[in-house]
């Protein structure tokens, strides 16, 4: 049945029951569904419609609030146990005695009312106010309420006459009158705002006791305009920046650990708000000032330094830095500098959280910025980065290894040397490359990867040794080619190794190559083995007259396989 049309027929009481029922349903849907959800909207619209219809018919709906009931026209129309989460108790808890809805109520008023009710449904441990303060702030034009004095408990017994006014003249006559006064003693409160040294005698009482010209206190048009502007600004102002300045100024003066804890706890919350507001400069300032305060508290007996360290650890954790995720995606690449500046104020402990900020949606410049930040932070202390290496998945790990490779220090070498044994081929490759970048002599440490299962890793090593003519590399390759390792059964790999020998080797390798050409098996009559092909290519790469001579000799070989391979090598 359509309740809206039924309202006039059911009578006022019944209609009131319907309104309250819909109000409760609406508030429940507020708890169940997120903002914008269709069911929540429907419940709100139904609630408004019924209330509006009721008020059009009856002009007002006044409810008396009991702790477990709502009373309308002297009759209970809704009851529920007096506990949190029940409508009468929520009103009662905050001292609302009567609640009145008046004709003319607007949809947006009902919506606001439900928002406030939802916000204050359960009283939190840290209430800044309650439903009453929220209703007062909102000033809903058609929802009136009366608040019970019960909220205050027993009123203070004090009365105005109990306030002491100080000494009275014994005879009840006047001790002094302003016009008679020519001497006033020290006014510490006036001095409070000064240098603390002056007394009122310095002010010259004769001058200041003269009356104020009434015209002088009239505002000029310019003053009036400024005053108006101030009030408008005050209405719109976000106090966050001013508050931050006050807290940071206070940091200069605070002394004991408890004070430090209180301030830093607030600054942590503020830091999160600054991130949400994308106010990177202020966030950087906050970190800078806290850091400087930490430097002022270096006494080991003072726990403040521990508190400061805990603060930096907290703000470097994922719950705080995750607030940057959206901002990093949305910030244009040209505006990344302030973010970078702020991030560089974080300790190396921030690296794990910073690494989590690499999301697929980040553009290249933002990735580069984050990489640069991590690199700098890790250069201060590699510990957090190193500890991440154990349990980070492959793509992110590769980035970390790449960053690690750019850092200095023997510790890094040790970490990288460990990583060349990592199960992930990409990580092994990245670590080996990093080691080689750091010092070409590290080839000794990574050369064993020439036999790696992964082709990309092998190619890295071969590529590196192919770059220089170097007897050390040459010896390593010769030794490797003579080792008959299982990987050398792979013809492509074998040929690549010979080629590399050709690029890094010298005449010292010729006897080894010549021996290969001269030692054929019966199978070599019909096909070219990998070793022969490799030896020929190596000779060609060595390129010395002796090597050329051996190559030409091979082109004239009686063995068709060698002859053909040598000709091909010469052609290439």
């Amino acid at each position: 049945m359509d309740q809206t049309t039924a309202v006039p027929f059911r009578g006022e009481r019944q209609a009131a029951v319907v309104v309250i029922g819909n109000l409760i349903r609406a508030i429940k849907s507020y708890a169940l569904y997120p903002e914008g959800h269709e069911k929540r909207r429907d419940a709100l619209e139904r609630c408004y419609q019924d209330l509006s219809d009721f008020l059009q018919t009856y002009h007002q709906m006044r409810l008396d609030i009991g702790k477990d009931c709502l009373v309308f026209n002297g009759e209970t129309i809704h009851s529920a146990p007096p506990e949190q989460g029940n409508l009468p108790f929520v009103f009662f808890r905050d001292g609302i005695q009567t609640l009145e809805f008046q004709d003319g109520i607007d949809f947006v008023e009902v919506e606001t009312f439900l928002d406030l009710l939802n916000d204050h449904w359960i009283l939190t441990d840290e209430p800044e106010g309650d439903l009453v303060t929220a209703l007062w702030d909102a000033r809903l034009p058609h929802i009136r309420y009366v608040v019970s004095d019960l909220f205050w408990g027993k009123d203070p017994e004090l009365e105005l006459h109990a306030f002491s006014i100080g000494k009275k003249a014994a005879n009840g006559t006047v001790l002094s009158e302003s016009r008679d006064s020519d001497q006033v003693e020290a006014l510490r409160d006036a001095e409070d705002s000064g240098d603390g040294k002056r007394s009122v005698e310095d002010f010259g009482t004769q001058v200041w006791l003269k009356p104020i010209d009434p015209d002088a206190v009239e505002l000029t048009p310019e003053e009036s305009r400024r005053l108006f502007e101030w009030t408008i600004q005050e209405e719109k102002k976000d106090p966050l920046t001013d508050f931050l300045n006050v807290l940071l100024d206070s940091l200069l003066e605070i002394r004991d650990t408890q004070e430090v804890e209180v301030f830093l706890d607030t600054l942590k919350t503020l830091f999160q708000n600054l991130i949400l507001q994308r106010n990177w400069e202020k966030a950087a300032l906050l970190l800078k000032e806290v850091e400087e305060m930490g430097h002022r508290h270096t006494d080991p007996a003072d726990d403040s330094s521990t508190t400061v360290a805990a603060f930096f650890k907290d703000v470097s954790d994922w719950p705080v830095l995750s607030l940057m995720e959206k901002a990093l995606i949305e910030t244009p690449s040209g505006e990344l500098a302030p973010i970078q500046k702020m991030l560089l104020r974080l300790p190396p402990e921030a690296i794990p959280a910073l690494c989590r900020l690499f999301t697929p949606n980040l553009d290249l410049k933002t990735r580069d910025m984050l990489t640069a930040v991590i690199e700098i932070l890790a250069s201060r202390d590699v510990g957090p980065l190193a500890s991440m290496l154990k349990n980070t998945e492959e793509p992110r790990l590769c980035r970390l290894v790449s960053i690690l490779g750019r850092l200095k220090g023997a510790t890094i070498n040790g970490i990288l040397e460990g990583l060349i044994h990592h199960p992930s081929a990409m990580v092994r490759r990245e670590a080996a490359a990093a080691l080689l970048r750091r010092n070409p002599e590290n080839i000794h440490k990574v050369f064993f990867l020439i036999d790696d299962d992964d082709e990309r890793v092998r190619r890295l090593i071969l590529g590196f040794v192919s770059r220089f003519r170097n007897p050390v590399l040459e010896d390593m390759l010769l030794e490797h080619l003579q080792s008959h390792g299982s990987r050398l059964e792979d013809k492509d790999h074998l040929v690549s190794c010979f080629k590399a020998l050709g690029f890094c080797g010298s005449s010292r390798s010729l006897p080894f190559l010549e021996k290969i050409l001269n030692t054929q098996t019966w199978r070599d009559l019909f096909r070219t083995s990998g070793r022969i092909q490799g030896a020929l290519l190596a000779l060609k790469a060595i390129g010395t007259p002796q090597a050329k001579e051996l190559l030409e000799k091979a082109a004239r070989s009686l063995h068709p396989g060698i002859r053909r391979a040598a000709k091909e090598a010469l052609k290439e």
């Binding site: 303060t133 009123d155 306030f163 409070d192 000064g194 009122v200 209405e235 001013d242 003066e253």
Partner: protein
């Protein structure tokens, strides 16, 4: 939507004009500004015919169209509905020839509307007054509906029952305020968790009182307690700050925040020993150091309150800044704070005034209210914001409410401030009569249109101001009982 936005602008400008004129004299710049703004928006609209603001079934209609509500305009709509309902008016109509009206006529109209609150039949009275003045461009619309059953149409602003009720509420708020600040301070001093829920509610009650009867709040703020200065001082600062905030047009929400700031501004004195606070004479440098830390300690205590960070950020600034001079000297020392906030500047002025006019152990004599204003105006002005100092001195008047005064006739009295329901500016003085013992009882109330000798040539005027302790009375006790 177009009409809605225009309507909101006109209604806002009209309300602001009436509100401003209720507080200031005709020649005040704020009055001039408010009138100009309303005239400009009204003239723009009457080109198309009459301009009509109507209240019908609890809604505001502008040019026949219902004014849409937004969350930001609830307060304006509520205040406007209240304004008309209390006067039993259904609206107001400006005829097209309003564009030829003079600014002084708008001021006259606003004063009439403010004053109509005390009339038996406001609409009829308004008609008569406008007719007598020859103003035909405006027409009050009489109420066409029965008032709501709970409303008492006969209850005027200055009805004795309402006056008594207001005074009772004022006393109650003051005493609860003192109690609440004491409770918070006590909890803080023993490191127990303290919240601000009650303080917020009190501030809200005080805002209502300030909006309804500013003079009463001035009277209340004249309460002094020699023995327990800090708590009464905190409430006085809250009250006078809110009165000042009202003068400059702050919204009710900001007034509430300002009130909370006032109540908590000296929270940092909790841990200062009474030996220092009440030490007669000058403080030693190390004692000064302790004193100078109180704004900072105040911020720390506010941070420790059980309240969300956002709320704390709104109420910590004023207490931190209340001893900073406008040039940022004073204390605490600052590096990053570049400007003192509006709340800080207001608190600084009010705090100084209340301290100067309070009994302190280290001072042989307390300054009288007019002396304190003179000192602040002529000597201490450099430490205050000059514009706000003007507003404050203007608000307090030559003899602030609660001042004990001697008239030229020799009679003693207590200044009550201007009559809030009256359209004429004047200072009311409650005469004090000797009772059978050694004290005083309430006498007649005089309305001195010109309160001091320099402007008064006949009749009665205020000759001088006296110390309440010298007379042995708590002035507020006479004004608020």
């Amino acid at each position: 939507m177009e009409t809605g936005l225009h309507g909101e602008e006109v209604v806002r400008a009209f309300y602001r004009m009436i509100h401003t004129i209720g507080m200031y004299q005709d020649n005040n710049t704020l009055v001039h500004d408010a009138v100009s703004k309303f005239m400009a928006s009204a003239r723009r609209l009457v080109k198309d015919g009459d301009l009509e603001i109507l209240i019908w079934r609890g809604r505001i209609f502008f040019q026949g169209e219902r004014l849409p509500y937004r969350r930001e305009t609830f307060a304006l709509a509520g205040a406007w509905l209240d304004f008309f309902q209390k006067r039993r008016l259904a609206g107001i109509r400006f005829h097209s020839h309003v564009e030829h009206a003079h600014a002084s006529e708008f001021v006259f109209l606003a004063r009439l509307l403010n004053g109509s609150l005390n009339q038996e039949n406001p609409a009829e009275w308004l008609d008569d007054q406008l007719l007598a003045r020859g103003i035909h461009w405006v027409e009050p619309i009489r109420e066409i509906e029965e008032p709501l059953p709970d409303e008492d149409p006969g209850a005027h602003f200055d009805d004795p029952s309402r006056v008594l009720e207001r005074r009772k509420k004022a006393r109650q708020s003051y005493l609860r305020g003192v109690d609440a600040v004491k409770t918070v301070s006590r909890k803080i001093s023993v490191h127990s968790p303290a919240g601000i829920r009650k303080i917020r509610r009190l501030a809200q009650n005080m805002v209502e009182l300030v909006l309804e009867d500013e003079s009463l709040m001035h009277c209340l703020a004249s309460i002094r307690d020699y023995d327990d200065y800090t708590y009464t001082h905190s409430i006085n600062v809250a009250l006078l700050s809110m009165c000042m905030g009202r003068r400059i047009g702050l919204s009710h929400v900001l007034l509430e925040q300002l009130g909370v700031c006032g109540m908590l501004h000296d929270l940092g004195k909790v841990e200062i020993s009474r030996d220092i606070l009440h030490k007669p004479g000058r403080l030693a440098p190390e004692e000064w150091e302790v004193m100078e830390r109180h704004p900072l300690n105040g911020v720390m205590h506010i941070l420790r309150l059980n309240a969300p960070a956002e709320m704390k950020s709104r109420i910590a600034l004023g207490p931190f800044e209340h001893h900073l001079k406008v040039d940022l000297t004073g204390y605490p020392k600052t590096r990053l704070t570049r400007d003192i906030t509006l709340f800080g500047r207001i608190l600084s002025i009010v705090d100084t005034y209340d301290a100067l006019t309070s009994h302190r152990a280290y001072r042989a004599r307390t300054l009288l209210p007019n002396e304190a204003l003179s000192l602040m105006w002529h000597r201490l002005y450099r430490q205050f914001d000059p514009i706000l100092l003007k507003v404050f001195v203007h608000m307090m008047g030559p003899f602030p409410a609660g001042s004990v005064v001697r008239l030229n006739t020799g009679a003693l009295g207590v200044v009550m401030g201007p009559d809030p329901g009256s359209e004429t500016a004047g200072t009311r003085v409650l005469l004090l009569e000797k009772d059978d013992g050694n004290g005083f009882r309430k006498g007649e109330i005089l309305n001195l249109t010109k309160p001091n000798a320099e402007t008064e040539t006949t009749g009665q005027w205020i000759l001088s101001c006296l110390s309440p302790s010298a007379v042995g009375i708590q002035p507020a006790q006479f004004l608020l009982q």
